[in-house]
């Protein structure tokens, strides 16, 4: 942190240190130095974690301006870089030349807020054809209800990268797929079956999450955050609540923190089981698919029985949790851990010893360690390629400050590594779950949150099952939300798919995609 500060000052960048937003420090720099600061931070091995823009109006600012944020990270440390640009000329240098991960985020900010990042990719990203040119839905004067057109024009003429040469052909896949999955478009350039280039085009499930968050109360925002990505409902709700609790300077009761962690670990267990099952399904090893899928279904049914919702939606609320566990339920959950472990041992041995499964998983879709660093991958994608990152261990939040989290790291970066990292995380989650159940303290499960003052901000950073989730909340007047930005880990992991697929053959794409399993909804917002 000090090294970065000194280097920035030496480069002539004026750094204004603002009050911190735990767990991050906040520095403001002039907008013209935005790109150069990124270059310096990148050279000092800071990781780019999240980026968003906001319009600040009302009592907080006499002259409305746009504020641009970029969250940088080192293990255990967070730094929120800020700058402001005037409304009549909203432009600043791009950070994308130094941080690949900033690319789509900046394009998203430009599409929704009209801030131009010079030197970055000028193609639209989130903006398909739903708004007129010059309309920016995240600006304050744009109505929350939107400006509905009769029909959204088809999204044609997106300039994909073209390849030329003998035998090169293009395969457009999606957004409508043969199976029931989320919509996304993949444009392949291939020679024979070998993939030369892959370009993703997402944004088909844009829901206007950031816009409809404005004006909500705290509970309303929590419910919305739980729907950013359905499979990560606990993770996003926890991150959003953490941000709101930071802003109102409230500490949740210890029992509530433990219950939140129980929910989060159960979400991790269910999703990892399902991902492992789905990876096996994509290589047509149906035995593993059905058996692991059955275990996942058991976990979900227990969720439904004990917590009242299979996916644990809306169980986390601002100030605590909306669930209670009696002794019988604790014993039930504890017994389930033993059963899961026993069945997993048996199943995973069968999968591990099957040579035809190994033949498909190993050396397929390799994400090199250098690429993982360059793209800033997190979660199991990062862990499988040597990125030893886990918020629960590096910057522990309650209750993980009382527990020790073992983080599995692999170096090979192939589909097999991502499969086994999931399995090891699953085992860690089972161990944590047992510890959480054993040490579950007594006490209240919820506290009331005071109405925050206008302009109060909070940053929530938690380890979701896909990896690090960042949630930013700023309050407006009357305790209503003025700005909410959830950064799903998929923002950082989707680009990895474009990289790891190169040189593989076309029919390996589904299993590679499944091994990354980015959330479409989580990045389309």
């Amino acid at each position: 942190m000090n090294e970065l500060h000194a280097t920035l000052e030496n480069a002539g960048i004026a750094v204004t240190i603002l009050p911190p937003l735990p767990p991050g420090e906040v520095w403001q720099i002039p907008s013209q130095d935005w790109g150069q600061a990124a270059q310096i931070a990148q050279s000092l091995k800071w990781r780019w974690s999240a980026g968003w823009g906001e319009e600040i109006v009302g009592a907080q600012r006499a002259v409305p301006r746009y504020r641009v944020n970029a969250l940088l990270a080192k293990p255990g440390k967070y730094l929120l870089l800020r700058t402001e640009v005037p409304q009549d000329n909203p432009q600043l240098p791009s950070q994308a030349p130094y941080y690949h991960a900033a690319d789509r985020s900046e394009r998203h900010t430009r599409d929704l807020l009209g801030i131009h990042f010079l030197g970055g990719d000028t193609r639209r990203w989130t903006r398909h054809r739903a708004w007129e040119e010059g309309e920016f839905p995240l600006r304050c004067n744009f109505p929350v209800a939107g400006s509905r057109q009769e029909a959204t024009p088809p999204d044609v003429a997106y300039p994909f990268l073209q390849t030329q040469g003998a035998g090169v052909y293009e395969i457009p896949v999606g957004p409508v797929h043969a199976g029931i999955i989320e919509p996304g478009h993949f444009r392949f350039q291939a020679v024979g079956e070998t993939i030369l280039h892959l370009e993703e085009r997402l944004g088909y499930v844009h829901k206007g999450i950031e816009k409809i968050a404005t004006g909500r109360d705290m509970l309303g925002l929590c419910r919305l955050a739980g729907r950013v990505s359905g499979d990560t409902t606990v993770g996003h709700a926890w991150a959003a609540c953490m941000a709101m609790e930071q802003a109102t300077k409230v500490e949740v009761p210890r029992r509530a923190a433990f219950l939140r962690a129980i929910l989060a670990e159960r979400e991790r267990i269910a999703n990892h089981l399902w991902d492992m099952a789905s990876i096996l399904n994509d290589i047509a090893f149906t035995f593993g698919y059905y058996q692991l899928g059955r275990l996942r279904e058991d976990v979900l049914r227990t969720n439904g029985k004990i917590f009242g919702h299979r996916l644990l939606m809306d169980r986390i609320v601002p100030g605590g949790v909306a669930v209670e566990l009696d002794n019988a339920a604790v014993r039930y959950l504890d017994r389930e851990i033993d059963r899961l472990r026993r069945e997993l041992d048996e199943l995973v041995t069968i999968v591990d010893r099957n040579a035809s499964v190994g033949d498909r998983l190993y050396t397929t879709g390799v994400l090199k360690v250098e690429d993982a660093i360059e793209l800033g991958c997190v979660g199991y994608v990062g862990l499988a390629s040597g990125q030893d990152l886990d918020v629960r261990r590096d910057r522990p939040y309650p209750p993980y400050d009382e527990l020790s989290v073992r983080v599995p790291v692999e170096q090979s970066g192939d589909v097999g590594a991502r499969f086994w990292v999931r399995y090891k995380e699953l085992r860690t989650a089972l161990r944590l779950l047992r510890q959480l159940l054993e040490r579950l303290p007594d006490g209240p499960t919820r506290v009331d949150l005071a109405v925050p003052e206008e302009g109060a901000e909070g940053l929530g950073i938690v380890e979701g099952w896909r990896g690090e989730i960042v949630s930013y909340v700023r309050f407006g007047p009357d305790g209503k939300i003025a700005r909410f930005f959830p950064r799903d880990p998929s923002w950082l992991n989707w680009p990895a798919l474009e990289r790891l697929i190169l040189g593989n053959i076309v029919p390996e794409f589904p299993v590679c995609n499944k091994s990354v399993n980015g959330s479409y909804s989580g990045v389309d917002l």
């Binding site: 293009e170 043969a178 090893f285 149906t286 053959i505």
Partner: protein
């Protein structure tokens, strides 16, 4: 009488093929602790498809429209060559096993053309993959046929099987290898795991399914049905050539009944074997398929050599 039995056998072939697929599905579900759909489900699926509207892509040519009928017709004709219940059938005497290989190739040719015809990426990809596999499967299939033909002194299936029936039931090493070779070819040609996955929804991994993605309604029903007939055809070929016992040699009801029972037991058992392989193996990488079929060719070739070295003279 012979013609009547012959027609009956073809009808049975066509009518019973969805039943075999239903049986395979049932076995597969049971082996995975799942509740199985009715054994009649493939019939219901076909009936559903026949009722549905048939949508044809705007840019489709006559090849696209003709192919389903042609593929189905060829599959029915191929049924006439392979003995299912009885051996002395007039149609079996008309054409030999090389014609059978030709029929299968003709159907595949039109299937691949239809895949290319609409100009979608998936159709082209599927056709290209199908032809890659076909170009390797056909030589292996022919080598099996030649092993059989050289041993029996004829390329006619019916007379070869008849000769076999009158011999002592002894194990011929050459036939063991040829049967293994044919089994591998059959797995590849009928699009089963580990070469192709008939149950997948992943369009990028498909081979057979990718070619027929644009088909719907009765066109799709015909193609699906033809694929089921082809599966039954390869099954019947495997069990009746290499384990011919039980095939009726006369047309009286008792021997025909015995023949029906025998083929049901043999195909049912073969389905069990197929399911066992399918649950034990993951689908292999596409580029391993040539090695797989190369191995099939090698097995058939070894069968032929063993015949020449051990069994001649």
């Amino acid at each position: 009488m012979a013609w009547l039995v012959n027609v009956l056998q073809i009808v049975l072939f066509v009518a019973a093929s969805p039943l075999l697929v239903g049986w395979i599905k049932k076995l597969k579900c049971w082996s995975q602790n799942r509740r199985a759909p009715s054994i009649l489900q493939p019939y219901r699926d076909l009936a559903k498809l026949l009722r549905k509207e048939t949508v044809v892509p705007e840019r489709a040519s006559w090849v696209f429209r003709l192919s389903p009928y042609l593929i189905f017709a060829v599959a029915v004709l191929a049924c006439a060559i392979v003995p299912l219940l009885a051996v002395h059938l007039p149609t079996a005497a008309l054409a030999d096993v090389i014609v059978l290989v030709g029929f299968l190739a003709l159907a595949r040719f039109f299937q691949a053309l239809a895949g290319l015809d609409v100009g979608t990426a998936f159709g082209g990809m599927g056709s290209s993959r199908e032809m890659t596999i076909a170009s390797l499967a056909e030589p292996a299939m022919l080598m099996v046929v030649f092993t059989l033909a050289v041993s029996m002194g004829t390329t006619n299936l019916a007379s070869a099987i008849e000769t076999l029936l009158h011999q002592l039931p002894l194990i011929r090493p050459s036939f063991v290898f040829a049967a293994l070779g044919l089994a591998l070819v059959a797995v590849a040609e009928t699009g089963r795991i580990p070469v192709d996955n008939p149950a997948t929804h992943l369009e990028l991994t498909m081979i057979h399914e990718a070619m027929i993605l644009e088909y719907s309604g009765h066109h799709l029903a015909l193609i699906e049905w033809a694929a089921q007939i082809r599966l039954m055809l390869y099954g019947a070929l495997l069990v009746n050539v290499f384990l011919p016992w039980g095939l009726a040699e006369s047309f009286d009801p008792s021997s025909l009944g015995l023949g029906l029972l025998a083929i049901a037991v043999k195909l049912g058992g073969l389905a069990g074997l197929l399911v066992l392989v399918e649950i034990l193996l993951a689908k292999m990488r596409l580029f391993r398929a040539p090695q797989f079929l190369g191995f099939a060719y090698l097995l058939a070739l070894v069968g032929m050599l063993i015949h020449v070295i051990l069994e001649v003279g």
